[in-house]
Amino acid sequence: MLQSLKLAIKSIWSNKMRSFLTMLGIVIGVASVIILVSLVNGYMSYMMESFTSMGTNQISVRLTNLTSRHATVEQMYSFYNEHTDIFSQMTPQITVSATLKNGSDSLTDTSVSGVSEQYIDMKAYKLVSGRFISYSDLMGKQKVCVLGYYPAQKFFETPEKAVGQIVKINGYAYTVIGAVERQDTTTLEAGGTDDFCYLPYTTAVKLSRTGIPSSYTFATVDTTVTTDAVDLLTTFLTGIYRNTDLFHITAMSEMLDSLNSMISKMSLMLGGIAGISLLVAGVGVMNIMLVSVTERTKEIGIRKALGARPGVIMQQFVMEALLTSMIGGVIGIVLGSVLSNVVGAAMGISAPPTPIAVIVSFSVSVVIGLVFGYMPAKRAASLNPIDALRTE
């Protein structure tokens, strides 16, 4: 065994160029499996994170309000209060198209929305300065606002300086009571993640054309009750609208599920494509081993004449194929790990090589060495020593 290993190392070393090219196939195959699987995994966890930050326990409801049939904020709140065993938070959301002004500076892309005091917890945002909208602000319909990082910095240089200042929204003066921590650490631009402004929904309805909130976000106590929550909302809203087309309920966890299944299908498909390159590499190994056997027919004949058993010859060639693909596999793993980190960093996601991808691709390369090395080795072992000696 040890002897075959030594012979294999010697043979690989004495055919450096050829061994390298054979390994290259395995290296590329293994590396691509690792890179693809790691990147897909990294992307998946990135998506998961951003979805989780949006709240996987959230259900958003969009309503089409008609003058004859509509759900009022009071109706929605009383529904929510009846089902606190299922719902933990709720907020109306009124999107207002508005222009923010501070003196001569103005912002037009800022997303302005009216929300409840629970909104900040549902979003899991943190304030850098001041406070969020309070229940009394809602009740008193106070003209106050909480700014995102972008407008706060644009108007007042720092979020700290913004608190207590006046911002004009569509001409009305609002007092800034707080500013939210920066969310997007890479880009800060108009219309971006950090360009927003929150008002009490009671104040915002006055700025909106309809006067009635048309969207709500509910948070459930737990993701396990999502289905019950959706059912309850459907029953409740059907009672009001008597037409299921007039409202739309979307559960984040459902979206997450479909996203997950989509990503895992994609991961499987990409892994499969990379797997094919491993298979091609295996055929390459077999090809080279067959060439090696043909080329070394004479050597095999001599070894047999000197008393090498067929099994020993077989072992020698299988070992060579195995070692070639194992070395290729290890190089591929190293290369794949390095590249997946580099590419991941370039894509702005963390894509460490997954242990599964490493283990699977390494074992596949070992199996390839054995399977595709077996046939040539078998041929070598079964060569007739007389014929083998006679070849040149």
Binding site: E299, A305, G307, G311
Partner: protein, 248 residues
């Protein structure tokens, strides 16, 4: 399954062939390469098997060397029936009992001289230290110890043939089987090799040498001539020389 080791002494029957036939199918034709060969060779003999190309001498050599098995007939090598052996047993008996010397030397080009000589010992599962020591001793015996770590292609033909003899002797076989050992050498080097064979024979080694050349054949002490797959002369060298002389 290791083949039992029989200690053979000078004068014991080493090769015992009875009515050996070897038949090949070539196309539709049956070729009788060996057609009833009966031959005995004892320990300590130096025999040359002489025959023209196509006479069946190579087939006979393959059978003697346990590289091939006869179609019919019985071949006992050191008392063991080669015809009944499996591939593994054939490999073992070649390793243990036969040292081959080939016309083209057949050294492995990627191994140095010492490693080449070690090969049969390697397949006999001898441990590294003993292997090196014995291989070195054989290289000394053929006068090439100083080149132990040279590669075969750095040597002349005669030197390479000496290495291959060292390799053949390394496993301390019962039989040295040489196939046209001087076929690729000039006459002066051939002479040296043949002298070396005689010296080895004097030291007690059994040698069977296959050749097509009568002048080489008469260097042995006994000559077996094969024609059309049959032995038509078997006797000592002086008698053979007389037969050859008479024909001219």
């Amino acid at each position: 399954m290791p083949v039992k080791t029989v200690k053979l002494n000078k004068g014991d029957v080493l090769i015992d062939m009875r009515d050996i036939h070897k038949t090949y199918i070539m196309g539709d034709e049956e070729v009788h390469a060996n057609d009833g060969v009966t031959l005995q060779i004892r320990m300590g003999e130096f025999v040359s098997i002489v025959g023209k190309s196509g006479s069946g001498k190579s087939t006979l050599m393959n059978i003697i060397g346990a590289l091939d098995v006869p179609t019919s007939g019985e071949y006992l090598l050191g008392g063991e029936d080669v015809g009944l052996m499996t591939e593994n047993e054939l490999a073992d008996i070649r390793n243990r009992m036969i040292g081959f010397v080939f016309q083209q030397y057949n050294l492995l080009p990627k191994l140095d001289l010492l490693e080449n000589v070690e090969l049969p010992l390697l397949y006999a599962h001898m441990d590294l230290e003993e292997r090196k020591e014995r291989a070195m001793h054989q290289l000394e015996r053929v006068g090439l110890a100083s080149k132990a770590h040279n590669m075969p292609n750095q040597l002349s033909g005669g030197q390479q043939q000496r290495v291959s003899i060292a390799r053949a002797l390394a496993g301390n076989p019962s039989l040295l089987l040489a196939d046209e050992p001087t076929g690729a050498l000039d006459s002066k080097t051939s002479r040296q090799i043949l002298n070396f064979f005689r010296k080895l024979n004097d030291e007690g080694n059994t040698i069977v040498m296959i050749t097509h050349d009568n002048s080489i054949a008469v260097e042995a002490r006994r000559v077996v001539r094969i024609t059309d797959g049959k032995i038509n002369f078997d006797g000592d060298t002086e008698k053979y020389a007389a037969v050859v002389e008479a024909r001219h």
